[in-house]
């Protein structure tokens, strides 16, 4: 387990990148981007984890209990918001591409553009 979470993060990053580059649909591509971003959640939380420590909520904890890192959790929350926001924006562009050009395929859209 020493490196395992980091390996998972790296795999997610590369898998998302692969999916985004080879995607044939902007809808699929947008989801691949969220997979890519999920790698940063895993990495951040893995960095902030301490074995045997409690969640960073002091309610009901004895004073002096070891807690995990609350900072990375706050960063991850911000990260999740960014992820949803980017998804929504790319999808709304994809909807328009479908309406205006009749396709959500990146290659076809490029050809239509000329």
């Amino acid at each position: 387990m020493t490196y395992y979470p980091f390996v998972v993060a790296a795999v997610l990053f590369v898998a998302g990148l692969y999916g985004a580059i080879t995607s044939r649909s902007y809808v699929h591509l947008a989801v691949c981007l969220t997979v890519m971003q999920a790698s940063t959640y895993v990495l951040l939380l893995a960095i902030g984890y301490l074995r045997g420590a409690a969640p960073p909520i002091t309610q009901g904890q004895l004073p002096g209990t070891r807690l995990v890192d609350p900072v990375v959790q706050a960063l991850t929350l911000t990260d999740i918001v960014v992820s949803v926001v980017v998804l929504a924006l790319i999808l709304s562009l994809a909807v328009q591409a479908h309406r205006r050009a009749g396709t959500v395929d990146p290659d076809k859209l490029r050809r239509i553009r000329g």
């Binding site: 387990m1 395992y4 979470p5 390996v7 998972v8 795999v11 997610l12 898998a15 998302g16 692969y18 999916g19 044939r24 649909s25 809808v27 699929h28 989801v31 691949c32 969220t34 997979v35 999920a38 790698s39 959640y41 895993v42 939380l45 893995a46 902030g48 984890y49 074995r51 045997g52 420590a53 409690a54 969640p55 960073p56 909520i57 995990v68 959790q73 991850t76 929350l77 999740i80 992820s83 949803v84 998804l87 929504a88 999808l91 994809a94 909807v95 479908h98 009749g102 959500v104």
Partner: protein, 85 residues
């Protein structure tokens, strides 16, 4: 919870995250992708919970159960499932 059990749970949850993440990318049909992506979201929730991050786990629950389907499904319906060409 013993630390050994925690480690096992973490390993299982992270493996699920990895497998489902790769799966989400490889599934090309958007509607099926939504399902796999939802499972990825669920596995992330479990992973966050066993990494002692309940705040993030709740955020991931609401995002992957509500926000993402709410924007994805209408778009998929429009662009891939019927509607005007």
């Amino acid at each position: 919870m013993t630390s050994g059990l925690t480690a096992v749970l973490q390993a299982v949850a992270l493996t699920l995250v990895g497998v489902l993440g790769v799966g989400t990318v490889l599934v090309r049909d958007p509607l099926r992708q939504v399902v796999v992506n939802g499972m990825l979201g669920l596995s992330l929730v479990v992973a966050f919970a066993v990494l002692q991050a309940p705040d993030v786990a709740i955020a991931e629950v609401v995002v992957s159960a509500i926000a993402v389907p709410m924007v994805l499904l209408p778009v998929i319906y429009k662009t891939h499932g019927g509607g005007k060409g």
